[in-house]
Subunit: 198 residues, 2 copies
């Protein structure tokens, strides 16, 4: 058996999503063999992140700075705000570089099943941001799930009294989607939201 | 974009075998969200390993102690020695708990193509271990590859003058192997090494 330290490292790695016990062991072996190029960089990177780790007071993003890199970016249009469920969603939209505005992370979705109520999410701070003014458009970018849409509905009600344009992501055929492989829900959405051919 | 620290961490993780850019990002998000249960344990485990990391002077295993946990284990039979190509092979055999003796890691295999010569491997130290005496059997556990078998042949020549039993892993049908799916090489081995039915 390997030493307790190495076992502990294998354990810690195997708990990461996408890594099982086997791949964790392979990763550990890689780290042990490539000390300078793999282990030390990972160690210092983890250390740096661990030191600076904080949740952005403005948008709820996790980053090593508060306000986070996105909120601090002066090139971003503060007049449009995109509301997402999770930090992962923010990162995905940010990577796509399609949305020039700022973000607001709810930290989850309303769920009767899981007992997630409005006060459990970062909703009041969203309303405060909108109430503070200076925002023209709020894009509700919830997941196209039941809970996600319930959350979008609830947010729409909470925000309807403010002078903003309230929009949500379009639902329909995914790019490359083939009709006979799509679920009925998606087809219904695509049909309901059909548009005149330009 | 995320902060440089987080980018660096994603980079470092994506270089691990079994993790690509996408899964590395998922892992980072997991680490950021689960600070106490994921990030800190991984950090301290890496740190502990990094501090103690060393190559075992006796067998060439990588561990956080020298001699390594395997060599230091008094329950292991020092009279039989299993020679493997890589640390990964040692770990695999050790996990199987099938070999009660000690190990010797060559650190690779002889390869004309990759220009790996005997002096590039931990072969002299192996010969010294055998020459020192106290070893009854040396098991050559090279991979069943051309280079692996070339290495086994070379080791056999280097060790033939010593009063030891020199053995190598059996080659043949893998457990669950079906004849019509096996390559000719394996079939040839299985046929050549056929044994009387007990």
């Amino acid at each position: 058996m390997a030493s307790p330290e190495i076992e502990a490292l294998t354990q810690a790695l195997s708990r990461l999503p996408g890594l099982g016990p086997r791949s964790a062991r392979r990763a550990v072996l890689h780290l042990l063999k490539k000390r300078e190029t793999a282990l030390d960089p990972l160690l210092s990177a983890l250390d740096a992140v661990s030191r600076g780790l904080s949740t952005c007071g403005a948008c709820g993003n996790v980053d090593t700075s508060d306000p986070c890199a996105v909120c601090a970016d002066p090139r971003r249009d503060a007049r449009s705000l995109c509301v997402v469920e999770e930090v992962a969603d923010l990162w995905a939209l940010d990577r796509s570089r399609l949305f020039p505005g700022k973000f607001h992370v709810l930290g989850g979705r309303l769920s009767a099943l899981e007992g997630v109520r409005p006060e459990d999410l970062r909703i009041d701070s969203l309303v405060r941001r909108v109430a503070a003014g200076g925002i023209d458009e709020v894009v509700l970018a919830m997941n196209a799930t039941l809970d996600g849409q319930t959350t979008a509905h609830y947010l729409a009600e909470r925000l309807e009294s403010y002078p903003i344009r309230l929009t949500q992501l379009a639902h329909g055929l995914p790019v490359g989607g083939e009709l006979d492989y799509l679920d009925e829900g998606t087809l219904a959405q695509a049909l309901r939201a059909r548009r005149p051919v330009a």
